[in-house]
Symmetry: C2
Subunit: 176 residues, 2 copies
Amino acid sequence: MIESAIKLSVRDVADFPKLGIVFKDITPILKDAELCAEITKALAEQLAGIHIDVVAGIESRGFLFGMLLAQALKVPFVPIRKAGKLPSKTIQQKYELEYGNSTLELHEDALLAGQKILIHDDLLATGGTVIAASKLVLQLDAEVVAFSFIIGLDFLHGKERLKPFSSNTFTLASYQ
Amino acid sequence: MIESAIKLSVRDVADFPKLGIVFKDITPILKDAELCAEITKALAEQLAGIHIDVVAGIESRGFLFGMLLAQALKVPFVPIRKAGKLPSKTIQQKYELEYGNSTLELHEDALLAGQKILIHDDLLATGGTVIAASKLVLQLDAEVVAFSFIIGLDFLHGKERLKPFSSNTFTLASYQ
């Protein structure tokens, strides 16, 4: 039910960010306050039974529901950002994207050793960004206990690539 | 009370993003789930009596509490993003920052003519970014009814520069 509501709302944008890519635009979801509340509730419910100390959200779209999810779970939120954005001392992780490459950063005091981290982003594609985020979490001796996404592009097999980090990968709407 | 809690939590980072700037780092706030809930409540309470159709949040840090605020007010959220990030057709506005210059974009179908928009960001400095965001709202024939920030750097006089757009500028913690 939530899956069909999400799929009805998501807008496909052809050739963004480059030719041949069909981009899943979630901005129509953000315009629907009730759907946003339902998504937040569903994201939290999927995680029932998993102990989570911190929600880490990936810049920028992972900030949107990442904060809502952290508040729903009543746990801290930690931003994982693009290079040069976090002001204090950071650790870095380079990664390749479906379309280009980039670097993610995390404040070196963002997590405590042993904390159980949920990594959230809006969409799981090939998993490259999320793997880089996971490596940042591991660099700080914290543990990745689950991944949470609104949308999963299952045909890109990201879930399999995330398994070495955690087999708890949740999506609300998946495209085969 | 919320002001002192915010000020106790915010971390000053010297010389970021460049020499001579003291950056107000809000990441310690994000680690405190209870303080985040109080901030969201306080942001919403400041706006009591003002009719708001949409919360527009400025990338990236304006996404964090922008979504929480939109959910608290039960209204749509619209992201205002850096150039090249929004996938569908956009309008653009260039602006100068305290330290550099940039371009903001808004989907051309993000707002309806006549809608009453609250613009949210984490921090008000000179107001350059927020003025560009306001111009985007006006380009779509919508109305800026208020500005909402967690932190105001009052010594930079941003509030005065925002007056031509709206005199309803709210901050939770201000630095003189």
